[in-house]
Amino acid sequence: VSWVLAHGLGAVRDLPVPLWLFYYGAGLVLIVSFVALGALWKRPLLERHADGGRELPAGLRRVLLSRPLRIVLQTGSALLLLLVFLAALIGEDSVAANIAPTFVYVIFWVGLVVLVVLLGNVWPVLNPWRAVADFAAWLGGLGGVAWSAPARYPERLGRWPAAGGLFLFTALELCYPNSARPPTLALAIAIYSWLTWLGMAAFGREAWTQNGEAFSSYFSLLGRLSAFGARDDAEGRRTLVVRTPASTLARGGWKPGTVAFVTVMLGSVAFDGFSGTRFWQDRVFAVESPLALDSPGLANLAVTGLNLLGLLAGVAAVALIYLLAVEGARRAAGRSDSLADDFAGSLVPIAFAYALAHYFTLLVLQGQALWYLISDPFGRGWDLFGTASYRPVLDLLSPNTVWYVQVGALVVGHVLGLALAHDRAVALFRSPGKALRTQYAMLVLMVAYTVGGLWLLSTG
């Protein structure tokens, strides 16, 4: 038996942010926004830094980009996927004792986000599905078989398949009551792996990874918040750089579907917060309790359906507010074409802030479970590394710490979002006056998201 925390793993939540801190945070957001209007710059600053920055020292670059390191990481990651899948498939059917739920919902889904924001997007070398596909291609090459993708990826589809994939993953995590049960995860991993390899086979490894694979888009967008990044230099060589964090989010020209993807990121975490409120839990109770005893299957189905409606409403609300704001900006600027694709990057820091605010405790407390789970991944009573009896420290975080991290993350995300939207506006419009006018609508958008996020944190 062990500690089981919130969300996909269900059951423990943070105390709501106290009202005084909610009002303080909301007030701060408004002050910051107005100070920002006065302090704003007239020429794009962030975007200019997107291609700037300094290369990492040559030795470090050589090691980090080396083929042996890549092979080691890809092999390790593919084996880890296999381990987690096997644990989910044949391990003990227990959310707490099996490594799969903690690995998928805490280490992968939350821990990797933090890693990517700190170190840059490491997912391309960790992506286990890509690793297996690369290995298959290498084997094929040895045998003289070259697979050429039978179809060209339709450009106009852009990130839409990834947005759909992310929606389905969050729907599984947040809507289905048994989402953390190992058999559910085994099925989910099998389906996702199969779809990913099918996509790679149909459109080519690179095309599917760039567009269709949900987690690649997820980590690639979040990785832009990092100071570290990879890019091709003038001669087309891969290189690693330190640059202004978030500067590559200040660019426009996002692929189709990017707005949808980012709104799923934001909307799903918003619904996660909302589903913990009394209001929502009483609704779930009303739907579940008449069926709970006689037909538990039907009760689960009803709860899943209700949650799905809530998740859809959350994503739709986030999207609607965004589209209204860019429409306001478009009118203020007197443009005829939509600006929706231009400001997508400014939502990414807010999405990260939402995720950090909601999953920080989960990562810190449930993340410790990995230490004993690696000794007994299948929940069979093994003790491979002698750590099986480790007990996590559960009073590591005081409520005050949690609240300050939550409110701090949202306020910082707000400031970054504002800065990115403004930078984009002065890059789009020659006249600073026009750019400033478009910013009133964007300011309302950012305030709505941030205060909405704070409200979700303060509602018990």
């Binding site: 423990v12 005084w20 006065g38 109770f285 559960l394």
Partner: protein
């Protein structure tokens, strides 16, 4: 002009810090103001529900039950706060209960059910059998703050949320 802007940002920062110090309640050990004024009342609902049944350990603990509110007189930390839940005909009587207790208090949760199952308090990870005529009794020291789900484990039915306030 850049100096003026930097000054503006600096003034903003100072104002933010000043505002924070102004609105922040007292010291760190002083409890933050909770929006949940309803929580103690709901503990009472949980109690009244239980009064129809025969409470096994109710007599000694009765006075402690109302003391989940910020008490003027320091409550005896060893007097358990009682929470009683009844699960009949597939539902928790009175809907999802939300008892709220102070960190450090001793808590005793008694669950009566007309089915055989396990009662699981997540986080604290206390699990007890329950069966018709054999209520589950979970007793523990509430030393971790947070909101913890109490569940009929096998059926996955959400019974209550225990709130532990600092």
């Amino acid at each position: 002009v850049p100096t003026a802007r930097l000054a503006l940002v600096a003034v903003g920062l100072v104002a933010a810090v000043a505002l924070f110090l102004l609105v922040r309640p007292g010291g760190d050990d002083e409890p933050a103001v909770q929006p949940a004024t309803t929580a103690p009342a709901e503990t009472e609902t949980a109690e009244t529900e239980a009064e129809t049944g025969t409470a096994p350990a109710a007599t000694t603990a009765e006075p402690a039950e109302t003391e989940t509110e910020p008490a003027q007189t320091a409550p005896d930390p060893d007097a358990p706060v009682n929470v009683r839940l009844t699960f009949i005909d597939g539902r928790v009587q009175g809907g999802i209960q939300r008892p709220s207790v102070r960190q450090g208090r001793l808590v005793r949760i008694v669950v009566r059910a007309d089915v055989a199952d396990h009662v699981h308090l997540h986080g604290y990870d206390v699990m007890r059998n329950v069966a018709p005529g054999a209520p589950a009794q979970l007793q523990f020291r509430a030393d971790i703050p947070g909101i913890f789900e109490i569940e009929l484990e096998d059926r996955g039915i959400h019974l209550a949320d225990l709130e532990v306030r600092p």
